[in-house]
């Protein structure tokens, strides 16, 4: 879906040329442009991910720019029938930040998915800091449901595909217009942070879409979500996260509100229908082995009219867990801090939890997948990934699953 007009596309194109030029400048040794490294200290939490990225900065200019690019090849086979080899220009993302004053800053993120198939402003917000525990954020922001939505940059991950739960159950990189507060404090080894926002919300498409299932992602197709609120009632998104520097981070988040257009012109069209999304996320590193573990679980409840079809479920759940094990960390070729990682991901999503009223048998519509991976990082900002994904997906009746396997090879790099 194209959100931008012809003229907006031109402005974007000119901006791209500017950013690419700036990046090339930064590669010259005598350039005044500096690369600000990503902060890898253990102070950072998932909520800091939007600012914790490598940026290019020119001298004392308050403006910094950055971005990342992802591309890959894909060879899939479904039930033994292959669609052949494809190449995907999966993501091209540009971010730009500016320190307006000491306590006011701005950040934006523009994403091009599959070329220009989907262009979206993921983030364009102003932050005002009153106190570390009290910061104001307003504009277009990513609803902090789970950790992946906050921390989704491709180069961070060992896998070409985003987690199915984050991409097909929750709307990945789901952002909205709104306002809110966030803050963080620490004591000893402990850090605690919170976020709370009121934004525009979902719409009727979550239970009326061409997927034929309750599908929160469908709402991303609504270009009006940055301009008006379908239900007229704000969506509340809140998250509390706690981190122990020696143990890891645990986050608990909630997103909920009325999703449907229940009245129009003063006339009641339907009951108020709510959705509730709960997410639990964690990440930790086992220091002795360097093993990194990250995972997320989501449970969704949607008020689907009883007179509607059971094809649209009123309860959903899903999780993913990634295990990443560094194998080699040393100079490889001319790369000083190269590393080779092996990793594995387990994906599970159930779009329709429950049993059929008529037969009391399980409603299917679920998916399991495992993805082993080998990743090579010439630097912390670039990753080459070879993934093999094997997936079992059942239809609503729980008929024998469709088996899909895929080889994916690609790269993702900040620039």
């Amino acid at each position: 879906m194209k959100i931008f007009s012809y003229y907006e596309h031109k402005i974007i194109l000119l901006s791209l040329i500017f950013f690419v030029g700036l990046n090339l400048q930064a590669q010259k040794l005598d350039s005044p442009i500096l690369r600000t490294a990503k902060d890898t200290s253990r102070e950072k939490m998932s909520m800091d991910a939007v600012y914790n990225r490598p940026f290019l900065k020119m001298g004392n200019s308050p403006l910094a720019v950055g971005g990342y690019l992802e591309a890959n090849s894909l060879y899939t086979s479904e039930n033994g029938i292959s669609e052949g080899l494809s190449f995907e220009a999966r993501l091209f993302t540009i971010f730009m930040s500016a320190s307006i004053t000491k306590r006011i800053k701005f950040l934006s993120e523009l994403e091009f998915e599959n070329g220009t198939k989907e262009i979206a402003i993921e983030f364009a917000a102003m932050d005002v800091s009153f106190h570390p525990m009290l910061n104001f954020r307003g504009g277009v922001m990513m609803n902090p449901i789970g950790a992946f939505n906050q921390n989704h940059d491709g180069p961070i991950w060992e896998f070409v595909e985003r987690p199915t739960m984050a991409n097909q159950l929750l709307p990945a990189t789901w952002s909205n217009a709104g306002f809110g507060l966030y803050g963080k404090t620490n004591k000893g080894n402990w850090i605690i942070g919170y976020e709370a926002y009121l934004t525009n919300g979902f719409d009727n498409s979550i239970i009326d879409n061409e997927e034929g299932k309750t599908f929160l992602l469908a709402t991303k197709d609504n270009p009006d979500r940055f301009a008006s609120n379908n239900s007229g009632n704000p969506l509340l998104t809140g998250k509390i996260a706690i981190k122990n520097r020696n143990v890891g981070e645990l986050g608990l988040s909630y997103m909920g509100g009325i999703y449907n257009n229940f009245e129009d012109g003063g006339l009641t069209l339907d009951n108020k229908r709510r959705l509730h999304v709960f997410a639990l996320d964690f990440n930790t590193t086992i220091n002795t082995m360097g093993t990194y573990i990250v995972g997320e679980y989501t449970f969704i409840m949607v008020d689907v009219p009883l007179t509607y079809t059971q094809q649209y479920g009123n309860k959903q759940q899903g999780f993913f867990i990634d295990l990443v094990q560094p194998i080699i960390r040393r100079k490889i070729l001319d790369w000083e801090k190269a590393s080779l990682n092996i990793a594995a991901r387990l994906d599970y999503v159930d779009w329709n939890l429950g049993t059929f009223k008529e037969t009391n048998t399980n409603i299917g519509d679920d998916l399991w997948a495992i993805t082993p991976s080998i990743g090579f990082r010439p630097s912390s900002q670039t990753v080459f990934r070879l993934n093999y994904r094997y997936q079992w997906q059942k239809d609503i009746l729980s008929n024998p699953p469709t088996r899909t396997a895929a080889w994916l090879f690609g790269f993702s790099t900040y620039f």
Binding site: S82, D208, Y308, F356
Partner: protein, 414 residues
């Protein structure tokens, strides 16, 4: 040797190692991509209900794929015209994997109890109860005192073959007055047909009525009639063929293009006939003999022949559906008091048995057989038979357990 030569030689060695390493990675990637063993195995054709008839031309395959997409992937939304009252949001909702329906989308037809007075409840939402509604609307309620029956969608494989059987062949199978005295008196369903259908070659008419053959009561003339009705009654989608909105009763602009309907009809016509499995197994062969011995084959006719079809691969072909396309009195146990067209309420069209063994793979791992899915096993379905099939049922009960097992194995091989 000068130092810079040594350094060059060392550098060259390192470079070679690097190149070898990169080649190794590249070959690994190539090997991985080429390695078909990492991919799911191809499912045997005889394990699947769906798929096209072999021998379609390139143009026909293109149209098959279009129809496949509309049938299986086209989900109707409110914007696309769904409802406002409906039973299902897509064709595949009722025919998952082109198989039989599941009780969660069991639908109800009501309003007609005899062959003379027609449907008395057309002004009350008949003939089909749309028991689902989009948000903000209320679904239909079954009117009090209306005769009704519950139905599950049939499998849709091999329909092109059934469509291409000539009227003369159907009539030849009939024995309406039981002239041969075997207790079985199948008759064609003579019925009025809508003006948008195209008569099949050498069509036979009787008092302005034609032989209809699709649907549980065999009340639909052809696949266009059946498909247009399903778009309209099941999904609340109007078409040029069935333009009356089920909710308002008013004529609407088409919500589905005629070409789309034709593509779906073509898809249904060119779905392959289900292929048999374990055909030569001794138990299966013994079961096949028992099937004839106990007179199941008197209605479930194993072999039929197509006449002329505009689709070459369907013309003049012998095929094995195990139906005679005739109406039979199935007794009081299966008489729900509701009927369609000129069928009696106790009469049902003989369902094709091909694909029976694969049914449960499209019904969530369980059998839901007979018109409303009341039978949850093949044996259950046999035991629900009555009327003209009463003697066959009795014959079945008199078989030994081994023989019953053989008969079931034969039916599962279809």
């Amino acid at each position: 040797m000068p130092n810079h030569f040594i350094r060059f030689a060392e550098t060259n060695l390192v470079m070679k190692k690097k190149v070898k390493g990169l080649c190794g990675i590249f070959l690994f990637v190539l090997f991985s991509i080429a390695c078909e063993k990492t991919m799911p195995i191809l499912i045997e054709e005889n394990e699947l209900l769906d798929g096209p008839i072999e021998g379609l031309s390139t143009e026909e395959q293109v149209q098959f794929l279009k129809g496949d997409e509309f049938f299986n992937d086209d989900i109707f939304t409110i914007e696309k015209g769904l409802g406002p009252i409906f039973n299902a949001v897509s064709c595949a909702s009722c025919h998952a994997g082109d198989g039989k329906g599941h009780p969660f989308i069991r639908f109800t037809r009501f309003g007609q109890s005899d062959t003379i007075s027609g449907n008395q409840f057309l002004n009350f939402g008949g003939p089909q109860l749309q028991n689902r509604a989009i948000p903000g609307y209320e679904p239909e309620q079954l009117p009090a005192n209306a005769a009704f029956t519950n139905l599950l969608a049939p499998a849709v494989t091999g329909l092109g073959f059934l469509d291409a059987v000539s009227d003369a062949d159907v009539i030849a199978l009939a024995d309406p007055n039981d002239a041969d005295g075997d207790g079985i008196s199948g008759r064609p369903h003579w019925n009025y047909i809508p003006n948008y259908v195209q008569l099949r070659p050498n069509s036979i008419s009787q008092n302005g009525q034609y032989i209809t053959r699709f649907g549980k009561k065999g009340a639909a003339y052809d696949l266009l009639h059946q498909t247009s009705g399903a778009y309209n009654q099941d999904m609340g989608i109007t078409s040029l063929f069935e333009p009356i909105d089920t909710y308002s009763g008013l004529e609407f602009d088409p919500e589905v293009a005629s070409q789309t309907v034709h593509d779906v009809v073509f898809y249904l016509k060119t779905l392959k006939a289900p292929l048999r499995r374990d055909e030569g197994a001794p138990d299966v062969m013994a079961g096949e003999q028992l099937f004839s011995q106990i007179k199941c084959a008197s209605c479930h006719t194993p072999t039929l022949q197509t006449g002329f079809s505009s689709i070459d691969v369907l013309s003049y072909k012998e095929f094995y559906p195990f139906t005679d396309l005739l109406l039979h009195d199935m007794g009081s146990g299966l008489d729900d008091g509701y009927t369609e067209g000129k069928a009696l309420s106790s009469e049902w069209k003989t369902p094709a048995l091909w694909g029976l063994g694969l049914s449960k793979d499209a019904q969530g791992g369980n059998y839901f057989l007979l018109h409303d899915g009341r039978a949850t096993s093949i044996e259950d379905a046999i035991l629900f038979h009555g009327g003209e099939a009463e003697q066959s049922k009795i014959n079945y009960t008199l078989l030994s357990d081994i023989q019953k097992g053989q008969l079931i194995k034969f039916l599962e091989s279809l």
